[in-house]
Assembly symmetry: C2
Homo-oligomer: 339 residues x 2
């Protein structure tokens, strides 16, 4: 089968770097890798595909690419689709710019990757990290018992705000421990040894945009109808990498916990991590750098006659971004879009 | 009015030390302060009431005390009630040993302190920290709209596991930052830059005892009947002090958010901290060392026709332990129990 020309936009950022690594580790059929960035254009980057000079993202020639993986930002994506849209290149966009557009597929490949068979869109959105980490366990639950309500409560790591967030957490933790002044630029307040119930902008309904994304995007990916109700509370915690989520779900039908555990076990990209007697449950220190999402603390929520409560943890840069984007690219490839 | 002989048991522990401080700051009518401990008996402690020699807790003479504040531990409390029960001394017990006994009042003074008027028990239980931090905001909501369901999801600090927990967090955070081996003795796993969904022992239903305490104790303090359903997810986070809680509540009747905010504002021991536009919301770095519990992020939860979602944060050593215990003592005093 053909090999592809792949372009990574925002190649020097956290997500971009992970995309290069995932492409290589998954042995993606790369013919040539092209790297693009804004300010970092001109730099030479060492990659498993050789040393590559980073080109200017704004002037990329999409006609030489089969797939462009965009990880620069929403405003940039909005401005640049005009330049990309008439080429034959598929664009997989990590930003939220097009996620809520009915014409644009929002994909977690294991769930709704088959939408790409028929859908003619050459622009595909990659979901928000918190949403994609929870999506597969929720999809399996939806198939077994039908989701009626979801209550998300999150523990989101500093690197969710980019590498600057991670660095600020570590540097300022040193100051905190030395009893020196703790500064904050990346977060609204100092994050070391604190939790901050504020991620992204506040909206009129009192929820942040991050909180609303888990509603809008879970709904679209899982194909939930309007009768399903979702509420989310997103909180930044002093963790370097990986997001954890407490999820309470009401289902239409009763859930047999062991049937659900069995179904989770069959999914290769999940790891059932649910042995409280051995102190085994999902935790950020175990998921960081890993492709699988951990699911555990599975129990009945007293508040709903039918339903489940669980704790889910995954690497927000991998399943939450780079890995999912590359799996979308792989799905396009496997569907024969480049034959 | 009379001054009282007060005994603090576990006087050299975290809660004991805070009790001494709160007694003094609230200008409690102390005649003489007696300190008791296990291993630390014999030590001399500097207090605002002078230097005091710590006596052996096991051999305390309750006949010389008006109030004994117990903060040693559940097993110790169970063993020692026999020795205390025939004296005229009131015992306020911080442990969970007697909290679920129907005969023993479980008190947050602002909510159900008046139970002490009629109740003849000289043993009074002080609630679990997570429960007491949330109790007053929930009580006010219950009065306005009637609680039907509560979903707790917590962010609990290291010092909830005692001063050893706090020390381990700080010491091991240094190792983490230096890329050295991170040890754990106080927690089941390393806590620095991690979150651990495990506090206290697991029970057969998949919930921890800490999680069940918020159910059992909220129910008893708020006088909720069996039709009210509660579920809780308790998680340890790398914070030194103060517990934060995300709370989703379904109510019988609609809640006007501003009416609720107004009612919270009237309660002196709460601080409404709900100005997202100015980045103001409850956070551990702001509540540690403070008597007031902060309440904010007040919004409608989409999952319930009537209800509220909020974020609550309070010092688990103060409202969650020492302050509440002293306020119980003050209530007994104000009710004329020692006249």
């Amino acid at each position: 089968m053909a090999k592809l020309n792949i372009g990574i936009f925002g190649a020097t950022g956290e997500v971009g770097k992970e995309i290069i690594d995932v492409l290589h580790k998954l042995d993606f059929p790369v013919k040539e890798l092209f790297l693009y960035a804004g300010k970092s254009a001109g730099k030479t980057i060492e990659t498993p595909y050789g040393d590559i000079v980073v080109q200017k993202a704004d002037t990329a020639d999409y006609s030489e690419l089969d797939i462009a993986l965009w990880a620069i930002g929403g405003e940039w994506s909005l401005k640049n689709w005009e330049r990309a849209k008439d080429s034959k290149c598929y664009v997989i966009d990590n930003s939220s710019a097009f996620r809520y557009d009915d014409e644009i597929p929002l994909i977690v490949p294991e769930i709704n990757g088959d939408l790409l068979k028929e859908n003619p869109s050459r622009l595909i959105s990659n979901p928000n990290c918190t949403t994609s980490i929870a999506a597969i366990p929720l999809h399996i639950l939806n198939q077994i018992a039908g989701i009626e309500k979801i209550i998300f409560t999150t523990y989101q790591s500093a690197s969710g705000a980019g590498n600057g967030g991670r660095q600020e957490l570590i540097e300022q933790s040193k100051n905190y421990i030395k009893n020196e002044r703790v500064e904050n630029n990346m977060f609204q307040h100092p994050l070391p040894f604190n939790v901050i119930p504020h991620i992204d902008k506040f909206r009129d309904n009192g929820y942040t945009k991050e909180e609303m994304k888990t509603d809008w995007e879970s709904r679209k990916i899982l194909d939930l109808d309007d009768s399903v109700k979702i509420t989310s509370g997103c909180v930044r915690v002093p963790v370097e990498r990986s997001h954890a989520e407490d999820i309470v779900v009401e289902t239409k039908n009763p859930v047999d916990l062991n049937e659900y555990r069995g179904a989770l076990r069959k999914e290769p990209m999940l790891k059932l991590c649910d042995n409280p007697e051995n102190n085994e449950y999902p935790m950020p220190i175990n998921t960081s750098g890993n492709y699988v999402v951990e699911v555990g603390r599975i129990r009945k929520p007293e508040v709903f006659a039918n339903g489940i409560r669980m704790f889910v943890c995954g690497d927000q840069l991998l399943r939450g971004a780079a890995l999912n984007a590359v799996l979308i690219a792989k799905k396009l490839y496997d569907l024969g879009k480049f034959d």
